[in-house]
Symmetry: C2
Subunit: 346 residues, 2 copies
DNA sequence: CTGAAAGCGCTAACAC
DNA sequence: GTGTTAGCGCTTTCAG
C-alpha cells in the first residue's frame, strides 16, 4: 500500500500491489470483464491513475495469441490511389481495434516476401494485399496454408477470382462507361492507352473498351492502342507517341487516372487544347483528377469501399466466418464528367 | 527426432525437439549469436525449414523489452505532402529493423491522444510526430517524461525549437527564395495567401515574405494578404476573394503547395491565364505540383530528409545518444522554376 | 559449444 | 467478488 506517486514503467503488478488487490482484479477492471466490487474498482482506478500505468499491448497480444495489428501490402504509398485507400483501410481496422502496418512492396527488394515472412501471423494477424498486377500469389497461398488470414482487394475481374478471398470491382463496366461517354459525345476516332500488358491487370478495362467500340461499329486498330506501364511518365510518353502517329484522333481512353494525367500534360506540352482538340477520359477518380485544370473526366471506382470491405473480409476470415473462396463485390463505378471531354468538333 | 513435416504453428520448442537440441541453440542459430557447431547448425536449419517455423516477433519483443515498430503521427495521409514523407520514414525505419505504425490524427476524435496512450512505449518504442501546427505538446511531454522517445519533424522554426527533440527546416529562407524570385521577375504588386493564422505554423514563411517585400521597398498592405486553412479548397476560395478585391495583382505568393494548387484552379476558373496574367509561387514541391499544367513554381523543402532524420533522431533518442533538446537541421530549400511564374507584363 | 532455469507482462482457468 | 496457478514464445543469465 505504499504510495508510489508515478512510475514510468509501471506494470499491472505494481498497480495491484498499490491497490491491495491481485493482478487478476486489475486486469478485470481494466477491460470491464469479470465482476469487481465498486469500492475495489475505485481503488484500482486510483492506483492506475497515480502510477500512470498503461497496459502493455505486446504482452497482451502474446498471451491472447492475437496481434493488435493488421498488415497492408501495396506497391507504393506515393501512388495517388493509395493514400485514400490506406486511410479507409486504417479507419476500418481501427473499428476492429487494430492498427495498420503498411508495406511498400516496390521498395522491398523481394517484393514484400520478407515482410510477409516476418510480420504475417506474428506481428499481424492478417494481411490485406492491394492488387497491382504482379502479386506473389504462391507466397500468399503458402501463408494461407499456414493459417494466416490473407485477402486481396482491388481485384479487377469479378468473374475470374484468384484462389484467395478477394474484394472486386467491375473494371470492365467502368471501362464501358468511360468509352460509352466518348461515343455519346460523337467521337469515332478513339485511341486507347492501357496501363498494363494486353493480358495484364487492366485486361478487364481493355475488354470493356473493345466491347463498346465493337458495339458502336468502330473498327479499332492496333495502331490506336498503346500498352504501357501504369505511371504518369509512361502516360506522358505514350500520348506523345500516339498523337504523333495518329494525329487525327479526337479522343483517348486511358485505363487509369495516373497515366491519364500524363496524357493531359503531354497534350498541353504538344500544344493541344483540351477538350477542344482532344477529349480524355479514364478510370479511378484519384484526388489529382479533380485538382487539375481541365478537371479529368473519369469513372470513379469505389476506392474507400474496396479498402473497407477488404479489412472486413479479413476480419471475417480471422473469425472463421468467411471461406477461402469468398468474393466480395462493391458498388458499381460511376462516370464523373469534368472538363477533359467534350462533344466532338465543338 | 520425429519428423513432423509441416507445422503451421511451430514454436521454437518444436524446432529444438526435432533437431535434438535445446531451445537456446535454436535461438542462437536463428540470430547468429553465440557459438554453434556447424553440424548442429545444419540440423537446426533443416528442422526450421521442414516445419516452416518463423519466430514470433511479439514474443521476442516482450522478452527483449523493445517493440519492432515505431509510430508515426500525421494529420492525414491523403494530404499529398505525407505519402512522400511516410515512404521515406518507412524506409528509414526499416533500416533500423522497425516497421511503421501510422496514425491519422485528423480522424481520431481526440487528435491522436488515445493512439499515443495505447501505442507509445508499448506497441511502439518511439513516436515521430509530423508537425501540423496544432500539436498536443503537453501530451507529448508527458509521454517523454514517461520515458517514451518522442521526436517532432517538419518543425518550421530552427530558432524557436519546441521542448521536444525536433528536425527543422528553414521555412523563412524558403519563403524568401519564393518571393525573391517574384521580385526578380519584376513583380511589385504581390499578394500573399498564408496557410495558417498570422502567428500560426506558417509564421516563419510569412516573415520571409514580409522581409523580402520590405527589402524591395514594397509597401505590402493587409488587403493583399489572406490567412487561411491549409487546404486546396481554402486556397481556391482565397484566390477568388483576393483577386476580386485586388484585381491588379500580378503575382501571388502562397505559403504551401496545396492551397497554391487551389489558387491555380481558381485562376483558371476565373479566366486568368497563368502565367500570362498572374504568377503563382509557393513552397514544398509536392508531387501534384509537377504533374499539373502549368507546372507550379515552388521552393522545394527536403521532405524525405525531414522524415529520414526524424526516424534517425528517434533511434538516437532510444539509444540514449541524443538529448531532449536536440535540434536537427536539414538541407536548404531550393527554388524550382516551372510554368506558373513569368516576367511581369510579358 | 550446449543446456536448464527463470521470467518479460499479461490473461485464462479454476478455485475459494 | 477475488485470489492462485499456469503459461503464451521467446531470450537471458549461468552452469556444465
Amino acid at each position: 500500500m505504499s504510495s508510489k506517486p508515478f512510475n514510468p514503467a509501471a506494470t499491472i503488478r505494481d498497480v495491484a500491489e498499490q491497490a491491495g488487490v491481485s493482478v487478476m482484479t486489475v486486469s478485470n477492471v481494466l477491460r470491464g470483464r469479470g465482476r469487481v466490487g465498486e469500492e475495489t474498482r475505485r481503488r484500482v482506478l486510483d492506483a492506475i491513475e497515480q502510477q500512470g500505468y498503461r497496459p502493455n499491448l505486446t504482452a497482451r497480444a502474446l498471451v491472447e495469441g492475437k496481434a493488435p495489428t493488421l498488415a497492408l501490402m501495396l506497391s507504393c504509398i506515393t501512388n495517388p490511389f493509395y493514400p485514400e485507400f490506406t486511410l479507409a483501410a486504417n479507419l476500418a481496422a481501427l473499428k476492429h481495434e487494430r492498427h495498420l502496418l503498411v508495406c511498400n512492396t516496390d521498395h522491398e527488394s523481394d517484393g514484400g516476401t520478407s515482410f510477409l515472412e516476418q510480420v504475417a501471423g506474428s506481428l499481424s494477424d492478417g494481411v490485406l494485399v492491394a492488387n497491382h498486377g504482379n502479386l506473389p500469389i504462391e507466397e500468399l497461398k503458402r501463408l494461407q496454408a499456414r493459417g494466416v488470414p490473407v485477402a486481396i482487394s482491388v481485384w479487377e475481374l469479378p468473374d475470374e477470382p484468384p484462389d484467395i478471398p478477394c474484394v472486386t470491382f467491375d473494371s470492365k463496366g467502368a471501362a464501358r462507361l468511360a468509352v460509352e461517354h466518348l461515343i455519346e459525345l460523337g467521337h469515332r476516332r478513339i485511341g486507347a492507352i492501357i496501363g498494363s500488358a494486353k493480358k495484364g491487370i487492366h485486361r478487364g478495362r481493355y475488354a470493356g473498351y473493345r466491347e463498346v467500340m465493337r458495339e458502336a461499329k468502330i473498327r479499332s486498330v492496333a495502331a490506336d492502342e498503346r500498352f504501357i506501364v501504369d505511371s504518369f511518365e509512361a502516360g506522358y510518353e505514350a500520348a506523345g507517341d500516339l498523337l504523333a502517329s495518329r494525329p487525327d484522333l479526337t479522343a483517348i481512353f486511358v485505363s487509369n487516372d495516373l497515366p491519364a494525367l500524363g496524357v493531359l500534360n503531354a497534350a498541353a506540352d504538344l500544344g493541344y487544347s483540351i477538350p477542344e482538340d482532344l477529349s480524355v477520359v479514364s478510370i479511378t477518380d484519384i484526388l489529382p483528377a479533380r485538382q487539375c485544370r481541365p478537371g479529368l473526366t473519369t469513372v470513379a471506382i469505389p476506392t474507400a469501399e474496396l479498402a473497407e470491405k477488404g479489412i472486413g473480409l479479413l476480419v471475417e476470415l480471422m473469425a472463421g466466418r468467411a471461406s477461402n473462396s469468398a468474393v466480395v463485390h462493391t458498388s458499381a463505378p460511376r462516370l464523373i464528367v469534368r472538363g477533359s471531354t467534350r462533344q466532338v468538333g465543338k
